[in-house]
C-alpha cells in the first residue's frame, strides 16, 4: 500500500480545487478508490466513478440518476460505473461487507484485463460559497514514517488534543482518514467503533 500514490493524489486534489475544476481524475487503485468513497461519504466530493481516459457522461456521475433507464443505457454504452458511498464499499483490503453486491456490480463492470490499465477514477469536486469544500489535503503518515494509533489516542485527536506529533482536529470541517483492518474510515467513525489504525491523510487541516 503505497503512501507515495496517496501523497500524489492529495496534491492533485488540492491543485484541482484551486483551479476550480468540476471534475478530475486519479489513477485507479483500490486504496484511492476507497479513500474517494470515504470522502464522498463525508461529503467532500460529489461523485466517484471508474472510467476510461475520457471523462464519464454526466449520468454516470449522478448516482441518483442511475435508476433512469436512459442514463443506464448511456452508462452501459460508455462503460462507466458510478459508486455511491452508502451502497457498497468495494474494498479489497478489508472487504467483509457487501461482497455479493460487489460481485453483482463486478458483472456489470466492463473492466477487463485489456482495459484495466487505462481505467481512472473520476472525481466530481464540490464548491460552496465560492470556496472549495475540499480545500486542503495532506498526508499524516509519511512513506518513511507511518503512524498507527489506538482508540484512546484517536479520541484525544477528535477532541482537538495533540497526540505525539499529530495535531488535534481544530479546524472547521476538518477530517482525518485512517486505514484500519475494517477498511478505510474517518477518525470519528473509528472512535465510534473503537478501532485503531494507521493515520493516512488529513482534509482541510489547520495549515497554510
Amino acid at each position: 500500500m503505497s503512501l507515495v500514490h496517496l501523497a500524489h493524489a492529495c496534491s492533485h486534489l488540492q491543485n484541482a480545487s484551486k483551479a476550480r475544476l468540476g471534475i478530475t481524475s486519479l489513477p485507479s487503485t483500490t486504496q484511492l478508490h476507497n479513500l474517494l468513497l470515504q470522502l464522498q461519504k463525508q461529503g467532500y466530493v460529489n461523485t466517484v466513478s471508474i472510467g476510461g481516459p475520457t471523462p464519464p457522461p454526466p449520468s454516470a456521475l449522478a448516482p441518483l440518476m442511475s435508476g433512469n433507464p436512459e442514463a443506464k443505457r448511456e452508462m452501459e454504452m460508455s462503460g462507466h460505473v458510478a459508486w455511491s458511498a452508502g451502497s457498497s464499499p468495494p474494498s479489497r483490503e478489508g472487504g467483509g461487507e457487501g461482497n455479493s453486491e460487489r460481485e453483482e456490480r463486478a458483472q456489470e463492470e466492463p473492466i477487463t484485463r485489456e482495459n484495466i490499465s487505462s481505467r481512472r477514477l473520476w472525481v466530481g469536486l464540490k464548491y460552496y460559497n465560492n470556496r472549495p469544500v475540499l480545500e486542503k489535503m495532506k498526508l499524516v503518515s509519511k512513506p518513511t514514517r507511518r503512524i498507527w494509533m489506538r482508540v484512546d489516542d484517536l479520541e484525544g485527536i477528535v477532541r482537538g488534543q495533540k497526540r505525539g506529533y499529530v495535531h488535534g482536529l481544530r479546524g472547521i470541517g476538518e477530517a482525518l482518514f485512517l486505514s484500519t483492518d475494517r477498511g478505510m474510515m474517518e477518525i470519528r467513525e473509528c472512535v465510534e467503533r473503537k478501532i485503531g489504525g494507521m493515520l493516512l491523510c488529513r482534509v482541510n487541516g489547520v495549515d497554510f
Binding site: 464540490k126 472547521i172 470541517g173 476538518e174
Partner: protein, 426 residues
C-alpha cells in the same frame, strides 16, 4: 458675453440633459421693445405716453417701475407671437404736434427720416424673441451688465498711479481753509457734506483714489436662491468637516457620529524615502486599524510628507476597508486558522470564555478593535509588523463557518448549546 454664457448652458444641457443650468430668473428683466399688453393698440399711440413719461424719466424710478411691470407681463405671454407689422404705423399729425413740443425741427426731421428708412416688416421680425436652438430661456435686459454673471467690470489699469501718496497734515489743513474761504454767506450742512465727500486724501491721479483698480473678484451677492446651496448651512458651534471626511461619509454611508465612535489605532509608523533626481523625498508611512468593537475590522495604509495627512489617510482607508469578521459567541474565532503573508506565518487559536487575548501587541490591538475577547496567537518565522497585521486580518477573514461547511458537506448541523443552555445562547 451674454451669448457665451448661454452657449455654455446649452453645452451643459447637451452633455448632461438631466442637469439643470442656472436660470437667470433673479435678474431684473425689462421689456425689450414694447409691452405686449400695449402692442394690441397702434404703437404710435404709446408714443404719447412715453413722452409724458419723459418728465418722470429724469428721476430714475420710472425705469424700475416699467421694468417690474414688463417682467410680470412678458413672462406670462411671449413677445414674438404678438408683434405684427401692422403695429408699426406712421406718425399721425396729432402725434407730430406733440413731438414738436419736445424735439427741435432738426431732430424731428431726423426722426421722420429714420421712420422712412426702417421697414415695419423688419421691425416686426427683428424685435421678437429668438426661437430655435439659440433661443434664450429667460428674458433679460442685455443692455445691463450683471457684475457676477457677466465679466466683472473693473476700473481700467490706467487708474493706477505709482506716485500716489497721502496728503500731509498741512495739505489737508489747506483744503479746509479753502473750503471755509469759499463758503457762501449762509452755509448749510449740505455744503459740509459735499466738501467731505469730495475731499481727496491723496496727491496724484484722481482716478487712482476715486476708482482704483481692484484685482479681487466681486463678492457673491446675497439673497439669490440659486446661490444658497453653495454656501454652508452650518448651525452655531458646528465644526466644518474636512472634504476627506465628507467623502468617506458619502462612500461608506456612516454618519460623522458613527465614525467618531469607531476605535482606531495607528500600529505601524515608519519613514520611507523616495530617491528622485531632485534628491531624497522623505514621507511617513502609517498603518491603521479601525473597528467598531462589534465585529467590524479594517486596516488602512497612508503615506504623506505631512504626518497629520498620512494619519488621516490611513484612518479613512481603514474605515473604508472595514469588513465583518465572524465571531463565535461574539468573543472568539471559529476554529484555528493559519495564514502566511510574506515570511510571516500567523496561527490564531480559538479559546474558551475568560481566556483573554493572549497574544502580541499588534494582534491584541486588532482584537480590541474587532471586539474579540478570547484568542491565542502564534507568529512564527518573520515578525514584520506590517505583514503580521495583514496576515491576522486575512486569517480573521478566512475563517470557515460551521454552518457554511455543513451546507458544503451536505450534512445536518445541530447546535447543541441550544439544548444544553435552554436556547439561551448568543
Amino acid at each position: 458675453m451674454k451669448a457665451t454664457l448661454t452657449a455654455r448652458c446649452l453645452l451643459l444641457r447637451r452633455a448632461a440633459p438631466s442637469r439643470k443650468c442656472a436660470q437667470r430668473t433673479f435678474h431684473l428683466a425689462r421689456p425689450l421693445h414694447a409691452e405686449p399688453g400695449e402692442t394690441d393698440e397702434p404703437l404710435k399711440e404709446t408714443v404719447q405716453n412715453e413722452k409724458q413719461g419723459e418728465q418722470r424719466r429724469k428721476g430714475e424710478k420710472s425705469i424700475a417701475k416699467t421694468g417690474e411691470r414688463g417682467k410680470s407681463k412678458q413672462l406670462a405671454r411671449p413677445l414674438s407671437a404678438s408683434i405684427k407689422p401692422e403695429h408699426f404705423k406712421a406718425y399721425t399729425d396729432e402725434n407730430k404736434d406733440i413731438l414738436k413740443k419736445w424735439y427741435t425741427p432738426a431732430q424731428l426731421a431726423a426722426i421722420e427720416a429714420g421712420e422712412a428708412a426702417v421697414d415695419p416688416q423688419d421691425l416686426a421680425e427683428q424685435a421678437t424673441l429668438r426661437d430655435g436652438p439659440w433661443a434664450f430661456n429667460y428674458i433679460d435686459d442685455f443692455a445691463q451688465i450683471h457684475p457676477v454673471i457677466d465679466k466683472p467690470i473693473r476700473a481700467p489699469e490706467e487708474n493706477y498711479d505709482p506716485k500716489l501718496r497721502y496728503k500731509t497734515k498741512d495739505e489737508i489743513a489747506e483744503d479746509f481753509a479753502k473750503f471755509i474761504r469759499g463758503l457762501p454767506e449762509k452755509p448749510t450742512r449740505l455744503d459740509y457734506i459735499k466738501f467731505r465727500d469730495n475731499l481727496r486724501l491723496t496727491v496724484g491721479k484722481e482716478e487712482a483714489e476715486r476708482n482704483p483698480r481692484n484685482y479681487l473678484s466681486p463678492d457673491i451677492p446675497k439673497g439669490i436662491p440659486e446661490m444658497k446651496k453653495y454656501t454652508s448651512n452650518l448651525k452655531e458651534g458646528q465644526v466644518e468637516l474636512d472634504p476627506g471626511m465628507k467623502r468617506l461619509m458619502r462612500q461608506t454611508g456612516y454618519s460623522n457620529s458613527e465614525i467618531n465612535r469607531f476605535r482606531f489605532k495607528i500600529l505601524v509608523t515608519h519613514r520611507v524615502v523616495n530617491q528622485t533626481k531632485m534628491g531624497k523625498i522623505q514621507s511617513e508611512y502609517y498603518l491603521c486599524v479601525a473597528g467598531n468593537g462589534r465585529g467590524m475590522l479594517g486596516i488602512g495604509e497612508g503615506k504623506s510628507t505631512e504626518p497629520m495627512d498620512g494619519t488621516l489617510q490611513a484612518q479613512y482607508a481603514a474605515i473604508r476597508n472595514m469588513q465583518p469578521i465572524p465571531r463565535y459567541e461574539d468573543r472568539t474565532i471559529f476554529g484555528n486558522v493559519k495564514v502566511k503573508v510574506g515570511a510571516v506565518e500567523v496561527e490564531l487559536m480559538t479559546r474558551p470564555p475568560g481566556f483573554g487575548v493572549r497574544c502580541q501587541a499588534y494582534i491584541y490591538e486588532m482584537c480590541n478593535c474587532a471586539g474579540i475577547q478570547d484568542l491565542a496567537a502564534r507568529v512564527t518565522r518573520s515578525r514584520n509588523p506590517m505583514n503580521t497585521i495583514k496576515a491576522v486580518y486575512q486569517a480573521l477573514l478566512s475563517q470557515r463557518l460551521p454552518d457554511e461547511m455543513a451546507r458544503g458537506l451536505g450534512k445536518k448541523l445541530v447546535d447543541v448549546r441550544k439544548v444544553y443552555y435552554g436556547g439561551n445562547i448568543l
